[in-house]
């Protein structure tokens, strides 16, 4: 390696490390705040005395564990619904050349761009007519639908990267289209399915406004709304407790992302770049 290249590489790495520090800081900071004793959050960056009391209080107050369970159920359920629906559609769009395909693609893309807030009233209305208010079914269906457009794009990218020869070979061997899809196509697109599930789970897990408006029952609330309640139900300034709640909400997404990073990245590339 030439001397110039070495210097360049050192400079670039130094810059990127600094950049990563800046990116990381707010996340680390919220962890630090959560270990401070009450009313000491802003006296020093590092806690003068480290404490887990905020976490203990978080789980003592109210039904926070229940909220987390709800977030998991709605998040996973929504992601599963999205993945199933989007996979089928993406397969159709990637493999068949049917009439109206262009229109359907444009329609789905257009649906990604609607501002969602005012939609909540009609959704509330439909849900109440169907007797679905405050049920997991409602949240799973709503989350399931939210994720569909992006997920179709992700899965379409994956399907298009599979050589068609495999399916043709299966067809020659006498497999029905359904068998081909289940036994040949799906196993190859496993990374795509994982990516879709993960991305949608994280989106659903983080959603705040939808559960805020659609859920009226304490036992059915999601963790993000619970966090908001903490901010408003508790007396005075309790930033440390709030930080603990923030951390608890951040951790699952962080762990999933750190362990399964490549699926996330590949999924996003397929969805947004090739779509």
């Amino acid at each position: 390696m030439s001397r110039r290249k070495l210097v360049e590489s050192v400079l670039i790495n130094a810059f990127l490390l600094l950049f990563c520090l800046i990116i990381l800081f707010p996340v680390v900071y919220s962890f630090l705040v959560s270990f401070h004793e009450p009313k000491t959050a802003f006296l020093s960056i590092l806690p003068q005395r480290w404490t887990l009391e905020n976490y203990a209080r978080l789980f003592r107050y109210g039904q926070f564990p229940r909220y987390i369970l709800n977030s998991i159920i709605n998040g996973v359920g929504g992601a599963v619904v999205t993945t199933i629906a989007a996979t089928l559609t993406a397969y159709a769009l990637a493999r068949f050349d049917f009439k109206g395909k262009g229109a359907i693609e444009a329609f789905i893309l257009g649906m990604m761009m609607l501002p969602g807030l005012t939609n909540l009233i009609p959704i509330l209305k439909i849900a109440s007519d169907l007797g679905l208010l405050n049920t997991y079914t409602l949240m799973i269906l709503v989350f399931g639908a939210y994720g569909v457009p992006l997920s179709i794009w992700i899965m379409k990218g994956f399907f298009e990267s599979i050589p068609r020869v495999l399916e043709e070979a299966a067809a020659i061997d006498g497999a029905t289209p359904v068998q081909t899809f289940l036994r040949v196509v799906l196993p190859i697109t496993t990374p795509g399915l994982i990516a879709t599930l993960l991305i949608n789970f994280v989106y659903n897990w983080n959603n705040f406004l939808t559960p805020l408006i659609l859920i009226n029952k304490t036992s059915m609330k999601m963790a993000t709304v619970g966090l908001f309640d903490f901010q408003h139900v508790l007396e005075g300034n309790q930033d440390e407790l709030l930080a603990a709640a923030c951390v608890v909400i951040m951790v699952p997404a962080l762990v999933l992302f750190l362990r399964l990073r490549d699926y996330f990245l590949q999924g996003m590339i397929e969805g947004a770049v090739k779509g």
């Binding site: 919220s30 089928l88 609607l114 009609p122």
Partner: protein
């Protein structure tokens, strides 16, 4: 040659279309209807375009539009510039690329409500850790209390959260440029800047446009970050159209009015979407 597939493709697209219809399309059409109504004392009446007339006759709307434009312009500019610079660096195949990607992507998997809270803390007047760091440089003014300062903070926070996504799109685009071309140019004596200016940039332009429009649409529709950091203040300095709609619906319960703002946002989005689709088509035409 793709097969037509008979009835199969229609059956396969049906579940998605049903979901989208029930949760997105029908409610959107309904909210367009709502934008033509007004509700008072529990009685809803049809008022035609009156809500639009009222909105377009206020200075608030134009202030919000202006805030939206300033916010999105700087947000897109900084996101794309920084993301592009990072993508160029990562494209050199550094040994630590995986590590960098992980860190840069962290903000994206975290919710706006939790990260917004943290950004607010960092800029608390007197106590905020970043506020205290920069206070001597800006005459001891609390940044978040000034209209321009609050705008800077919400732009910084939103850029912070979106860089990863833009970077990924741009990196993927960079990787489609065959290294032979740039290497050949370098052998021919082109400078690093020359390669960028005459080879990388023209090839990347469509990707940059697609990324920019995508980021722009997210910026216009996303209110979570601003809501949890400044709630639109001080004054109306950071009250973008999304926040204005939020206030009308969630704070004043003027649902018709809020729906009318949503329709205006929809129109802005539709125009952007048209650009997006065109850019996308150009990009795929170039790639082919």
């Amino acid at each position: 040659m793709k097969s037509r597939g008979g009835i199969y493709p229609y059956l396969l697209t049906l579940p998605s279309l049903l979901l989208i219809f029930a949760v997105t399309l029908y409610p959107s059409l309904y909210s367009i209807y709502m934008s033509l109504t007004r509700s008072k004392h529990g009685v809803t009446e049809f008022v035609g375009l009156d809500n639009f007339r009222r909105i377009l006759n206020t200075t608030d709307f134009y202030q919000s539009l202006q805030a939206t434009l300033i916010f999105t312009a700087f947000y897109v500019l900084f996101t794309i510039t920084i993301a592009y610079a990072i993508a160029l660096m990562l494209n050199r195949g550094l040994r630590l690329t995986g590590f960098y990607m992980t860190i840069i992507f962290l903000p994206w998997v975290l919710s706006e409500i939790t990260t917004g809270v943290v950004w607010r803390w960092m800029f608390y007047p007197k106590e905020g850790i970043i506020q205290n760091l920069i206070a001597p440089l800006i005459n001891n003014i609390a940044l978040i209390t000034r209209p321009w300062g609050a705008m800077i903070i919400v732009i910084a926070a939103t850029v912070w959260r979106s860089i990863s996504f833009a970077m990924l799109l741009l990196l993927a685009g960079l990787q489609t440029i065959p290294t032979e071309i740039t290497e050949a140019a370098q052998i021919d004596g082109a400078s690093g800047f020359g390669v960028f200016r005459y080879i990388t940039w023209p090839l990347m332009l469509p990707t940059v446009v697609v990324t920019a429009v995508f980021i722009l649409i997210q910026g216009i529709n996303g209110v979570g970050m601003i809501l949890s950091i400044t709630e639109g203040g001080p004054g109306r300095a950071t009250e973008v159209l999304g926040i204005m709609m939020y206030r009308q619906a969630v704070q004043y319960y003027n649902f018709g009015y809020a729906a009318a703002i949503a329709v205006l946002l929809l129109i802005i989005n539709a125009i952007l979407a048209a650009f997006y689709l065109r850019a996308l088509r150009q990009e795929s035409a170039l790639a082919a």
